[in-house]
């Protein structure tokens, strides 16, 4: 299995055809039925086999997929997609508008139990959704959403003539027929999935002939496999990155990459709590997070500060909003001015005989999270705030947060490509309706969020979100902390790997379809 390191004389600008790419799956897929996908790992494989109506490009903007072009009606509720007449499924049958309609019906059918993808189609209006002709489909919605178009990227189309027969939930777990550039050869559950490029693919073919996904759960095992050439790519842990990414020997065999995605970490404050419900208290607490030290000492510069709800790469990001300054003295002054004073001299601030004690939930077993919590704890202690850190199992933590049974937590979001923050900051989304578990209700923010999700003009929408960014930063319903960069290593024989603006190495277009292998493995 050991392969020689790629010849450095390979012409970088002339992609070579063929070869086998060895990709890692950190968790086996739960199903290959794209309508039922529940995790990103499912999509990693499905993206090769199926295609969506539209892809998103390196800047997260919509680009042609199955649909060559599309129009949105003036009222913003009806989307008309013109499908490529050349599109076929891997069994040779042409893709028709009726397949799109079939997929949409399956998606919103409660019997399908598809909470993940269906989340983007809750306002689908089946009454106005129809096949106009074989290659034109009109899809209607009950409400206008500026983010709707990007949601079509999540919807991979299945062929009606195959998926309408048999048990939709159980018969398509390990077999798949789609209109994507690769066909499924075999799946061995828990071990591997082998894909082969379609010779009859209906648009530009990718360079790589076969893709073998190997399930490797353990990071240490994957790292060894990468060095032996048994995997071509894997995310790497911060530890390995710091110790190995400057190793000259390794760099002859491996490429190291580091980039930011759409995820970030934050401390949600329970808005109903008598103490942290006050935004002045929250600001004082935010001032005790030493982001600079965190980024430099814990992450060695491989993280960056957040200032509000949008990540620095997003078009919605407001560059004028400053990072909350680390200033414990000022924090203590603010708390004192609010009546929190150390009257009994025990080193802990108190008000009306009650000491300033807070509890923060963190996910158990996550090293960096625990270190962050301890740093925050020690800074708060210096100004007389006692922070108890409670590590919990992820399910328990989420249940407590969603139930409002918490004061603070340290968690992260993994955002959609479209930055619509409705689900997490609009007052109508307070649990059980949505994920506004901080009980944030600001009429001005509500107005901006509503306007933003209905505004179809990109420039105006950007202005709305920048205003919202500044408003949320002022209210500090979260203490926004950092974005930790994704770290990746790949073998030098894999070329053409590029990063998108926030979506990593793949799942955008062309993304993984532009990769190529610089040297054929020696014939066995």
């Amino acid at each position: 299995m050991q392969r020689a390191a790629a010849d450095t004389a390979v012409d970088e600008n002339t992609p070579q055809e063929g070869g086998t790419l060895l990709r890692r799956l950190e968790t086996d897929v739960s199903t290959l039925n794209p309508v039922l996908a529940t995790s990103r790992y499912d999509r990693l494989v499905e993206n090769y086999i199926f295609s969506p109506l539209i892809y998103i490009d390196a800047n997260l903007q919509p680009t042609a997929g199955l649909a060559e072009k599309w129009e949105i009606s003036p009222d913003g509720k009806l989307y008309t997609f013109h499908l490529s007449p050349k599109a076929t499924f891997s069994d040779g049958v042409p893709l028709r508008a009726s397949d799109v309609i079939f997929t949409l019906h399956k998606l919103v059918d409660p019997k399908t139990e598809a909470p993940q993808i269906a989340g983007g189609f809750e306002q689908l209006d089946l009454a106005t959704t129809r096949a106009v002709d074989d290659h034109t489909v009109a899809i209607g919605f009950k409400e206008v959403f500026a983010s709707q178009l990007s949601r079509f990227n999540e919807l991979l189309i299945v062929p009606e003539h195959v998926y309408s027969k048999g048990d939709f939930r159980n018969d398509f777990v390990s077999q798949a027929i789609g209109s994507g550039p690769y066909r499924m050869v075999r799946r061995v559950p828990g071990k591997e999935i082998l894909l082969e490029r379609r010779d009859d693919y209906w648009t530009r073919k990718p360079y790589i002939k076969t893709v073998l996904f190997k399930v490797v759960v353990e990071n240490a095992t994957a790292w060894n496999a990468l060095q032996k050439g048994e995997l071509d790519e894997t995310p790497v842990s911060s530890d390995i990155w710091l110790n190995e990414s400057n190793n000259v020997q390794l760099k002859k065999k491996l490429d190291f990459r580091r980039f930011y995605t759409l995820s970030y970490n934050y401390i949600p404050w329970n808005g109903r709590d008598p103490i942290v419900g006050d935004k002045r208290v929250r600001r004082a607490l935010s001032m005790c997070v030493d982001l600079k030290s965190l980024i430099n000492n814990l992450y060695h510069g491989t993280a960056r500060a957040m200032t509000g709800p949008f990540t620095p790469d997003s078009w919605a990001y407001n560059p004028e909003v400053p990072v909350v300054e680390f200033n414990p003295l000022e924090a203590r002054r603010i708390l004192n001015s609010l009546g929190w004073l150390d009257t009994d001299g025990d080193g802990i601030l108190d008000k009306a005989k009650k000491p300033l004690r807070l509890e923060m939930l963190v996910i158990a077993g996550s090293g960096p999270t625990m270190i962050f919590a301890q740093l925050f704890q020690s800074e708060l202690k210096k100004i007389g705030v006692q922070l108890n850190v409670l590590p919990l199992d992820p399910s328990v933590l989420i249940q407590r947060v969603l139930a409002g049974n918490y004061q603070a937590a340290y968690i992260g979001w993994d955002q959609d490509p479209d930055p619509d923050p409705y689900n997490i900051f609009h007052s109508s989304q307070i649990p059980p309706h949505g994920q506004n578990f901080i009980y944030y209700a600001n009429p001005q923010a509500d107005r901006l969020i509503e306007a933003g999700r209905r505004e179809l003009d990109h420039g105006k929408r950007q202005a709305i979100y920048r205003e919202l960014h500044a408003l949320l930063a002022e209210d500090q319903p979260y203490t926004w902390t950092i974005q930790v960069s994704s770290k990746w290593a790949s073998t030098r024989r894999v070329r053409g790997v590029r990063e998108s603006n926030g979506y990593g190495l793949f799942l955008w277009y062309p993304g993984e379809f532009d990769w190529w292998i610089a040297q054929q493995p020696p014939p066995r």
């Binding site: 739960s30 919103v108 060894n224 032996k228 993994d414 959609d416």
Partner: protein, 329 residues
């Protein structure tokens, strides 16, 4: 004899129901539920409320616990263990996929540990306090105390990465399907060496010490001295006389070990990417996949009870006193 076995079976059935009630109550009393796991896994992505409601209803998560247990029991009686909440597939299918892998690996580890541990234990009992006895005890206890994830990673680094003698992970090679039958057998064995070694090394101490202490009791008795006086060879005395009489504690140990054959090991399975029950159990507990946890617990309970039953019956055969005197334990 028959009534002895019948009574044991009746106890086993009662115990079985007791176990299901306790496991059901335990797993449902742990905070968190499958829906919160779904939401956590999706991150900030909008989830369909209708879809989540459908899942809740389909698995009766909206009903009182007693009703949920009723539904579950009704399914079990008709041999329907339900579908996984995490991926919607029948739990029996998923377990059937992984059970043979776990069973094969653990059976081998068990046989290797017994094949090395028991003779060493016997030999130590024969010459207690000598260098062999002391040396093997120290070695085995040292091995016993090494953490398995560390040993597994060290062995992997040495044998798979540095020396390149053995495969890194998995149960078969990438091109396994192209091999001849003999090639496939060899490939499978090569893939099993490191995981089996990891599972075995810590069990050696248990087998060796257990059989040593069982034999030590026997070896001081008069009939052994008689046998030696008759001029029987050392190995004949050990195996035919001492070992047979030391069988009862060893059967007990086997009965206790059998359930591990199907319960899997999270660490070994994860490091060597061995697609088994341990990892499935671990994931289903994290995701609060109630049907899967219940099915796996039931399977383990049944095997544990069967092993206990088998051990009880074997005692009766190994020692006639047990079936004559009514069970006094």
């Amino acid at each position: 004899m028959r009534s002895y076995i019948a009574r044991r079976i009746a106890y086993a059935v009662l115990t079985f129901f007791g176990i299901t009630v306790v496991v059901f109550a335990l797993i449902h009393s742990v905070p968190g539920d499958p829906i919160s796991f779904y939401i956590g896994r999706a991150g900030g992505v909008t989830l369909s409320r209708t879809g989540l409601e459908a899942i809740r209803r389909a698995h009766h998560l909206d009903r009182p616990l007693v009703v949920q247990y009723g539904w579950w029991l009704k399914g079990v009686v008709t041999l329907d263990f339900g579908t996984s909440i995490l991926d919607g597939r029948p739990v029996v299918d998923r377990i059937a996929e992984k059970l043979p892998n776990t069973f094969l690996l653990n059976l081998l580890a068990f046989l290797v540990a017994a094949a090395i541990g028991i003779p060493v234990g016997l030999w130590s009992a024969n010459k207690p306090g000598r260098l062999f006895d002391r040396g093997s005890a120290v070695t085995f206890f040292l091995l016993y105390s090494l953490p398995s994830f560390w040993v597994a990673l060290l062995m992997m680094k040495l044998f798979a990465v540095k020396l390149n003698w053995l495969p890194l992970f998995g149960m078969t090679s990438d091109d396994y399907l192209d091999y001849s039958t003999a090639g496939r057998v060899i490939d499978r064995i090569r893939h099993m060496i490191l995981p089996v070694a990891t599972l075995t090394y810590s069990q050696l101490a248990i087998f060796a010490r257990f059989s040593r202490s069982a034999t030590t009791d026997v070896i001081r008795q008069d009939f052994i001295t008689t046998a030696r006086a008759k001029g029987a060879g050392n190995s004949v005395v050990l195996w035919r006389h001492a070992f047979r009489n030391a069988l009862i504690p060893i059967i007990t140990l086997l009965g206790l070990t059998v359930p591990y054959l199907i319960s899997g090991s999270v660490i070994v399975e994860q490091i060597f990417q061995w697609d088994g029950i341990g990892h499935l159990y671990f994931e289903s507990i994290l995701g609060r996949d109630y049907p899967m946890i219940m099915a796996l617990s039931v399977a383990t309970a049944i095997v544990t009870l069967l092993a206990g039953l088998a051990a009880d019956v074997l005692y009766a055969f190994a020692d006639p006193r047990i079936r004559l005197g009514e069970s006094s334990r």
